[in-house]
Symmetry: C2
Subunit: 160 residues, 2 copies
DNA sequence: ACCTGAACACCGTTCAAGT
DNA sequence: ACCTGAACACCGTTCAAGT
């Protein structure tokens, strides 16, 4: 029945997807795992580290390949697949500007400056998209039907 | 002695600049103003709204003018001038994608797509810069001396 | 190694009541 | 109109102790 570090990350991602970042507390993750809050600190030094591990897992399946535009779309899809995924990944990535796997792979494919610019754009646009869609779902905002196309056009602007 | 809504925003910005977003709680803002936490809710419906008002104030002095690159630099400077300013402004702006003053003015100067791309890039790069510098100050990270130049090069990439 | 139980120092927000 | 006082339902984290 003993949990591993990966179990903790999985539990945290389930809580994130079900309740959103706002309610993804250490206490909720613990109760998702059927364990006391303090037990989590055996696997992870603090919440920030747990969030970084969650971010890694969210983008784990993203292959950069040989087409920057395709890579950008893949990254975007991976983040949109989890509730508040863009927020989690963007925040964690800002902390390691210049030494994330994806930024490095993109830099080899193009240039360091383009890689960073592209990545920041993808994060920003996807974060905004996800927030906007959530607000629309609650009915606070009218849904903008053009966000996917807006993303593609901005991407073209950068890669042109 | 009675506070106004503007006093609350000013107090909140003082707390933000002194302690950072993490510690900018309603309770601290209240104590900065010498008032009970509950008193804030007379001026502001919730913390999110207060943060949006703070964001407006941070970028209030930014003039778009007739040069997109200059506008981008001005926006960046305004956000860097306040501790965690980029975080506050970026989060608030994601909520109103497509109807912020600066995005609209930039859109008239260029095109809607370019305005949005530019804005998201400025937010992303400035957020990362600010985080990175804070981490460097605490000694967690080696300072990257090139962040200002990196910003300018990315800007060129987009505006070219 | 993995976890419990209890504690510490906090949160945002509501609401009746005061002036 | 502006604020107090008290309460409610939470936080992240630490630490001695159990198995």
């Amino acid at each position: 029945m003993a949990n591993t570090r990966d179990d903790v990350v999985s539990g945290a991602l389930r809580v994130l997807d079900a309740f959103g970042l706002e309610f993804c507390s250490m206490r909720r993750v613990a109760s998702e795992l059927g364990v006391q809050p303090s037990a989590l600190y055996h696997h992870v030094p603090d919440k920030q580290t747990l969030l970084a591990l969650m971010a890694d897992r969210i983008v784990a399946g993203v292959e950069v390949g040989d087409d920057p535009a395709k890579a950008a779309h893949a990254l975007r899809e991976a983040m949109l697949a989890v509730r508040d995924g863009a927020d989690v990944v963007a925040t964690a990535s800002a902390f390691r500007l210049g030494d994330s796997r994806i930024e490095n792979e993109l830099a080899e494919l193009t240039t360091p400056d383009l890689a960073r610019t592209l990545l920041l754009y993808v994060f920003g646009h996807t974060q905004a998209t996800q927030m906007h869609r959530q607000a629309a779902q609650i009915g606070i905002l009218a849904e903008d039907p053009d966000l996917d196309a807006s993303f593609a056009r901005g991407l073209d602007l950068i890669l042109r």
